[in-house]
């Protein structure tokens, strides 16, 4: 029977192809070694595991337009993508994936990352570096009375908004441009009550909170008052009354004066003498006196510019401002500075300096990015998911095998062999198409194990009916397959259609589910109809005079 030969040949070929697709090969991946994880070459089944199974971070970034609108989003995003990619490459993760999705989003996938929050910060940091001269004219002192007056007039609203426990305050404060960078909400929350209580009710609501610092342009605000001052400064009229051509910038660090922590705020020239675009290199260093520093080198043009500008300002103080925060205390300019300089990071650890050097090297982001979505799963949870998913899979297969063998005996056995082939084919399809196996994907696989035998059940039941009608084994099998076919096709089509739509509209792990569902249904159709039929055909040709069928 040549037809049978072709059938067997096709099945054997598919099995061989599946085995080849699933054959363990050498890959570089993270392996657990002792307490930690390390990269090593291992031989394993080439099934790509999703971030939820191997652990890692999925990060979606989009352009932050809360401060200013961006005209050509797509172009800005392309430029941002380059910067993000450079930063991630330097960050040192095996197989990072950085890509643009649509016109408004950058997706960063970092498998097996240990410190997701750090990566998030590195990616998101604008790294916009500016050098600005602090104000020498005591301009702030001159306008303070006027500012006090405005605060007093508008004070009602501001004070109400600043009342402790009022939730509207948080959103209002975070809308302040430039002055406020989201920091640590724990600290903010704890100062809430104090600041309201400590707020003087009499003269100078603002000036009483601001003390003059140690050099021109430097002012000190007690850490507990920072929020209050921020809310006062956010009043539009106050913004308007600030000295023209000058801007206020908070320091990134606090200082201890006496027992109390203070946060310096600087009034600086709005025009930067130079920005980070001329930067060619940056590296972290540890200085015994100044603590952690980042040393940077400017290119020739930047160096020339820097020299002339600093030459003009000898004796002045220069604030190094990163993303609108003053880094360290502004140093006094002793003489004209050339191509080299350093950013003092005070007591921060070397890792912060490394990250800063990294983002400075990679360049600043052309547009501010904000995090639209983060998912990260620890490596151990991923491993746990795989183990549990595999357990569920094995138990499901055993139960289904038990039912099929117990109920349909010999025919059930054929179905079970087909089921084994089915699992193999499905995994091979996933490996072959480079599809990603996710936790919901495993669920889909387990589910389709239960559904895969449905087609066999339909066929076997039909064969039983045909046998009951007194037909021969041969005709019963033939007609059983024939009659059950339409129902099987119908049920598969509806499930596949559902899976296709789910694939189109799902994201990440859910897509994995849709893929396994579709692959599973197709493989199960083939196994239930084609493979089992072939088995029957082999059996029928082997045993010439078939009288009974164990079904």
């Amino acid at each position: 029977m040549s037809n049978l030969k072709y059938r067997v040949a096709l099945i054997v070929a598919l099995v061989a192809a599946s085995l080849w697709a699933l054959f363990p090969r050498t890959v570089i991946e993270r392996v657990k070694r002792g307490d930690g994880f390390a990269y090593d070459t291992v031989r394993r089944v080439p099934l790509k595991r999703g971030l939820d199974l191997q652990g890692g971070m999925h990060l979606a970034l989009e352009i932050d337009e809360s401060k200013q609108a961006v005209a050509d989003k797509s172009d800005a995003l392309d430029r941002a993508l380059k910067v993000v990619r450079t930063r991630i490459d330097e960050f040192g993760v095996a197989e990072p994936d950085v890509r643009k999705v649509g016109d408004s989003r950058i997706v960063v996938e970092l498998p097996g990352i240990d410190d997701p929050e750090r990566a998030e910060q590195v990616v998101q940091k604008s790294a916009f570096l500016q050098f600005q001269i602090t104000d020498e004219t005591q301009a702030l002192d001159k306008v303070l009375p006027r500012l006090d007056q405005i605060v007093r007039e508008k004070g009602g609203a501001a004070a109400a908004a600043a009342a402790p426990g009022d939730t509207t305050r948080r959103t209002q404060v975070s809308a302040i441009p430039n002055l406020f960078t989201p920091g640590d909400s724990a600290a903010r929350d704890s100062t809430k009550g104090d600041s309201a209580a400590a707020r003087p009710t009499t003269a100078g609501p603002l000036s009483s909170l601001i003390q003059v610092g140690q050099f021109p342009g430097e002012y000190m605000v007690a850490e507990k008052d920072v929020r209050t001052v921020e809310s006062y400064l956010s009043i539009p009229e106050v913004q308007g009354a600030l000295p023209p051509g000058k801007v206020l910038r908070w320091s990134s660090d606090t200082m201890s004066l006496g027992a109390q922590p203070y946060r310096p705020i600087y009034l600086v020239e709005a025009r930067p003498i130079i920005t980070g675009e001329y930067l060619t290199d940056a590296k972290p260093n540890s200085d015994p006196i100044q603590g952690t520093v980042v040393e940077f080198t400017l290119n020739n043009e930047g160096g020339r510019r820097f020299r002339t500008e600093t030459g003009k300002h000898v004796g002045d103080y220069m604030a190094i401002i990163l993303d609108d925060r003053v880094m360290g205390r502004p140093p006094v300019i002793q003489s004209a500075i050339g191509t080299r300089g350093q950013i003092t990071m005070g007591s921060r650890d070397l890792q912060d300096a490394q990250d800063l050097a990294l983002v400075l090297r990679a360049g600043s982001l052309p547009v501010p990015l904000k995090v639209a979505e983060v998912r990260n799963v620890g490596a151990s949870l991923g491993e746990d998911s795989i183990n549990k998913g595999t357990t569920a899979m094995v138990i499901a297969v055993l139960l289904v095998v038990g039912v099929m063998m117990g109920y349909y005996r010999f025919s059930g056995m054929l179905a079970v062999v087909a089921l084994v082939l089915y699992v193999m084919f499905t995994l091979a399809i996933l490996a072959g198409f480079d599809a990603v196996l996710t936790l919901p994907g495993i669920a889909g696989l387990v589910l389709t194990v239960g559904m895969a035998v449905d087609a066999n059940v339909l066929i076997f039941e039909r064969i039983r009916e045909e046998l009951d009608r007194g037909k021969t084994v041969r005709t019963s099998i033939e007609e059983g397959f024939q009659h059950a076919m339409s129902a099987i096709v119908d049920t598969s089509v509806t499930t596949i259609l559902g899976g296709a739509v789910l694939y189109q509209y799902g994201t990440g792990p859910v897509r994995g589910f849709a893929v396994t569902l579709i692959a599973g249904i197709i493989a199960s159709l083939f196994c239930a109809i084609f493979v089992v039929k072939t088995f029957y055909m082999i059996w029928l040709t082997r045993t010439r005079s078939v009288q009974t069928l164990s079904i």
Binding site: E62, D64, E117, E120, Q121, T171, P182, D184, S185, D189, K370, V371, A372, E373, V374, R375, N376, V377, G378, L381, K388, G389, T391, A392, M393, I395, A396, L399, V400, V403, Y408, L439, P440, I442, A443, V446, L447, T448, G450, M451, V453, D454, V457, L458, E461, S486, D490, T491, T494, T495, L497, G498, V501, L502, Y505, G506, T507, V510, F513, L517
Partner: protein
């Protein structure tokens, strides 16, 4: 050979009233609870917000943990996740918040608070998800579009596959399954995540399966026997397909149950919804699709032209009819009035 439910003659359709009351009661109860206890429990994927799953080395005191978290992230939900070592902390984003601040804010604040209370070595952040309002809205829209599309596609397929009476009955029974599943999700307060939406979509495809199998048989039997009332044909078809319905659902249930019990906490909502859905699909293909088909046939009986399509086929089999009828004893249960308006 082993046979279950072989040659049964249950009068399934007879119980349609009781079934209808039970199922409508469940749906009303489930959907009604939307009125007095708000919508379903959406995951942060849809609402936007932050989820932090913390695995402790030592079981923490829950009240204490709640206090620690409440201090830094007020209004967040804390739930035990599987064992008493793992907890999830959910801070939902209300209205339009700025995720850049709130993501780092919530995770950072939680981390700091836990560091202070349990030391950095005492716990591990096993999982973290933060979804901005925009992404949340997109996912929500995507889920709704997917639901509508799958419904339409399934409906269209069933409509093309069967003539409209069967198609309508199959679609209504599928809709019933989805409503019942939503009621179930609501009543058990299962968190609706993307994966649970995936389960509902899979059920949309799956729930029609059994109906298709029964209706296929009904169609086949209609061709064979012209004298039998549709009521009897339906019952006979259900009885004939009963073994396969039971077996196909049993194997699928075995799969969903192993997911429910062994696949861990993350997949549990999915497995629960699937298990319920498979169960309901069995029920509805018998008690919902059948009676609805009966109702439609009574209300809109086939015209002569409609009939002729099947009649021509049944004419050919007219000789075999008596034999086909005798194949099944089909005694009418005595409790039911013998004369029912035969639709054909």
């Amino acid at each position: 050979m082993i046979r279950i439910f072989h040659n049964t003659t249950f009068d399934f359709i007879r119980w349609w009233r009781q079934a209808a009351i039970a199922t409508i009661a469940f749906i009303v109860l489930g959907l009604g609870s939307f009125l007095w206890s708000g919508g379903v429990n959406y995951s942060i994927e849809f609402t936007g917000g932050t989820l932090v799953q913390v695995a402790f080395k030592q079981p923490p005191d829950v009240a204490e943990l709640r206090r620690v978290i409440d201090a830094v992230a007020p209004g967040s939900e804390i739930q035990q996740f599987g064992t008493n070592l793992e907890y999830t902390i959910r801070a939902r984003l209300e209205g339009a918040g700025d995720i850049a601040g709130s993501t780092e804010g919530v995770t950072g604040a939680v981390r700091k608070a836990l560091d202070a209370k349990y030391t950095p070595d005492g716990y591990v952040i096993a999982r973290r998800e933060a979804v901005g309002p925009k992404v949340g809205e997109e996912l929500r829209r995507g889920a709704i579009i997917a639901m509508v599309l799958v419904s339409l596609v399934t409906l269209l397929y069933l409509a093309i596959r069967f003539e409209w009476r069967f198609g309508l009955a199959a679609v209504l029974s599928t809709a019933h399954d989805v409503l019942l599943t939503i009621a179930f999700i609501k009543l058990l307060n299962i968190e609706v995540s993307l994966v649970v939406v995936g389960a509902i979509l899979t059920l949309l495809g799956y729930s029609g399966n059994d109906t298709i199998i029964i209706f296929d048989r009904v169609r086949e039997n209609l061709r064979k026997t012209r004298k039998e009332s549709l009521y009897d044909t339906l019952n006979r078809s259900i009885n004939e397909t009963l073994p396969r319905s039971v077996l196909t659902h049993a194997t699928t249930l075995l799969a969903t149950l192993s997911l429910l019990f062994f696949a861990g906490e993350v997949l549990r909502p999915f497995a629960a919804v699937m298990t319920f859905g498979v169960f309901v699909a069995t029920f509805s293909s018998i008690y919902v699709a059948g009676p609805i088909l009966l109702y439609i046939e009574r209300k809109y009986p086939r015209t002569v032209t409609d009939k002729s399509t099947i009649a021509s086929a049944s004419q050919a089999k007219a000789e075999g009819r008596s034999e086909a009828r005798s194949e099944r004893p089909a005694p009418r249960p005595s409790g039911r009035p013998t004369q029912r308006p035969a639709t054909r």
